[in-house]
Structures are given as structure tokens and as C-alpha cells.
């Protein structure tokens, strides 16, 4: 039993390492060859885990070989558009201004219901709302709505807006996010003073559930036993 436990730990760490090296794409974003690799990896990992007679290396070696293969395929895809099209395919327009391209659907081996389902997932319930729909190489549908169905943007409505600022988490579940402090240009002392000023002497960093700050000085604060509070124009954050 101990052998199986140790083997499971080793294989788990190797698979973790393999996925770390391969990148952070999620299942839905994978190209066909990446999906194939993921499926093979899952299968390979289980063999030496359960079979004590099989050396762990029999699982590790093919896993690492697949990493190298994946790297080569990615490199070749990047270098050659043709190669990329061969292994990943190319985006296909399934809906155009004339309507649904039935030939394209047949080629892709998908039904009209599949297209409708994907469209509904994107918030378009009628064909009339869609100008173009493109089936991407990762199997996801991209939709370009008709002008009248497109959501209004600030630009289209000519509304003046300030540049968006990314809120940086500086405290999470009572822990200081030290790397983020540098990014937000604040320090621990600032946070402690801020908490004292706004919530009194008893407020401590360890009692903060979440605290974020953006470059405009907007602070979002929620204590572990309290509700959210928003503070604007916190000058020191600039």
C-alpha cells in the first residue's frame, strides 16, 4: 500500500510539473492536439500508479516525451501557418449576412442546434441578432452581432469615462499580499493606519477578509465579521 501511495505522489507531482510546463490553457481553450495530449497524459499517469510491477519511469518517460512533442508542435505551429492549419484547423464562418452556411456546418460535423446552443450561451437568442458567427479552432463560437443588436458602449454613447484602474488585492483573508503592496505603492504601515483611521484601534490586518486598492485611490474593504465598505480618493494610494 505504501508503494502505491508513494507512486501516486510521484506521478501527481510529475503530472503537475508537466501541465505547468505546458502552459495554463483551460480545456475549452485547447487546440485539438493539446486536448489529445491531455487525454493521453491522464491515461499514462494511471498505469504505473496502480500496477506495482510497472516501473514509475514507464509513466514518467512518456509523459516527458509528450511535453517535448507538445513544445515542438507549438513551435512549428508558431513558425508555420500551414502547419498550424493542418494540426489545429482554421476558423470557419458558420453564419454570414446571408444566413446559416449549411455546407460549413456539414464540414464541421455540427448541427444547427449546436450553433443555436453556442449562440444562446453568448446571449444571442435569435438568428436575426447575428451578423457573423465563427467556429474557432478550439470549438468555441464567436459571434459578431448586428449593429442594432450590439450592446451599447460608452464610446458609442459618447460618454466620457476615466481610464479603468485594476484593483490590487493587498490583504486577503487576513494575510498581507507583499508582492501586491509594491504594485499598489503602499506599505503595511499605510494599511494599519488606514484601518485605525476608518475602523478604530481594534481593527487589525488579520481580521480583514479582503482589501483592494486601485490607482485612483478606491479602496474596497471587508472585515471577516462585517459587510463591505468602499472608500474613495484614498490619497496615499496614488
Amino acid at each position: 500500500m505504501l508503494t502505491i501511495v508513494l507512486r501516486a505522489i510521484i506521478i501527481y507531482l510529475v503530472v503537475l510539473f508537466v501541465f505547468r510546463v505546458m502552459g495554463k490553457r483551460q480545456l475549452g481553450q485547447m487546440q485539438p492536439f493539446e486536448l489529445v495530449l491531455t487525454l493521453i497524459i491522464a491515461d499514462l499517469a494511471t498505469i504505473p500508479m496502480a500496477e506495482i510491477g510497472v516501473p514509475v519511469l514507464h509513466g514518467i518517460i512518456p509523459l516527458l516525451t509528450l511535453v517535448i512533442l507538445h513544445f515542438l508542435l507549438t513551435l512549428l505551429s508558431r513558425l508555420s501557418t500551414k502547419f498550424s492549419m493542418i494540426i489545429s484547423g482554421k476558423p470557419v464562418i458558420v453564419i454570414n449576412p446571408k444566413g446559416i452556411d449549411y455546407k460549413a456546418l456539414k464540414k464541421l460535423n455540427i448541427t444547427i442546434d449546436d450553433v443555436f446552443e453556442a449562440m444562446r450561451g453568448l446571449g444571442y437568442f435569435s438568428l436575426d441578432q447575428v451578423e457573423y458567427a465563427i467556429m474557432e479552432t478550439n470549438g468555441k463560437l464567436s459571434v459578431m452581432p448586428k449593429a442594432e443588436a450590439a450592446p451599447a458602449t460608452n464610446g458609442a454613447l459618447k460618454i466620457k469615462t476615466e481610464p479603468a484602474a485594476i484593483p490590487v488585492t493587498i490583504v486577503s483573508e487576513g494575510k498581507l499580499m507583499k508582492d501586491n503592496l509594491v504594485f499598489a505603492k503602499v506599505d503595511e504601515e499605510f494599511i494599519q493606519n488606514f484601518l485605525k483611521e476608518k475602523l478604530g484601534d481594534k481593527a487589525k490586518i488579520k481580521n480583514v477578509l479582503v482589501m483592494t486598492i486601485d490607482k485612483n485611490g478606491l479602496v474596497y474593504l471587508q472585515m471577516k465579521n462585517g459587510s463591505k465598505q468602499v472608500f474613495e480618493n484614498v490619497r496615499e494610494a496614488a
Binding site: 510546463v21 506495482i52 516501473p55 518517460i61 516527458l64 516525451t65 513544445f71
Partner: protein, 131 residues
């Protein structure tokens, strides 16, 4: 691409190459040793009617000792179940030698030679194994 990934890929590649070389080397030397030991035993017992001698017993022990050492190395590289026949035949060989069963002793020796030779087929890199 991040330096981490680049370094990892180079290390993985080197590791794979090293493992291939090590496997080939360990398999060929281990099995060659067994074959050599078997040939020595064969020569030694070729004209003997009585194999219950210190010399033969020592030669069988050497064969067993060498194989046990090599088997533990090979177990890192190949399925343990695939290479257990040699060990089993050597165990029989010892009994036949102690009981002076010359006929069975020779048959067992042949079996060890056969296994050590045939193991090379699935351990080494060959087109048969690949396909």
C-alpha cells in the same frame, strides 16, 4: 517563452536521452553477464556426470548473485513481471545442481540462456519493439 519553461524543456530532453542510453547500457551489460555466466557453467559441466561439486555450486551462486544485482537495476526500467523468469530458472538450477539432476540442470541452463537472449528483444531499441 519563459526561462523556466526553456530550462525545463532542455532538462527534460537531456533526461530522456540519458534514460535511453542508460536503459540500453544496463540491459545489454546485465544480460551479457548472465549469458557469460551460463556459458561458463555449460563449459564447466559439459563432460561432468556429477555436478555436485564446489566449483559448479560456486558458479551457480555467481550466476544468481550477478543476476540478482542486475535484476534490481532492470526493475527500474522494465516491468518486473517481464523479467522474473530468469530468477525462477536460476532457483530451479540450484536445486538441480544440489540433487545432481544433470538433464534438468542443462535444460534449465538453456532456459536461462534463452530468456537472457530474448529479453534483449523487448528491452533494447529495435524496430520490432517500436512497431
Amino acid at each position: 517563452m519563459k526561462i523556466f519553461s526553456k530550462v525545463c524543456l532542455v532538462l527534460i530532453f537531456l533526461f530522456l536521452v540519458a534514460m535511453c542510453i542508460v536503459e540500453d547500457y544496463v540491459a545489454s551489460t546485465a544480460l551479457a553477464t548472465v549469458e557469460d555466466d551460463c556459458l561458463r557453467l555449460e563449459e564447466m559441466t559439459a563432460n561432468l556426470d556429477n555436478i555436485v561439486t564446489m566449483e559448479v555450486a560456486l558458479a551457480v551462486d555467481t550466476l544468481e548473485y550477478n543476476w540478482t544485482g542486475n535484476e534490481s537495476k532492470l526493475c527500474y526500467l522494465v516491468n518486473h513481471k517481464s523479467i522474473q523468469e530468469i530468477g525462477m530458472e536460476i532457483a530451479k538450477l540450484k536445486v538441480y545442481q544440489q540433487e545432481n539432476d544433470v538433464k534438468e540442470f542443462r535444460a534449465s541452463l538453456e532456459a536461462v540462456k534463452f530468456y537472457s537472449h530474448s529479453y534483449l528483444h523487448f528491452m533494447g531499441a529495435s524496430l520490432h519493439n517500436v512497431i
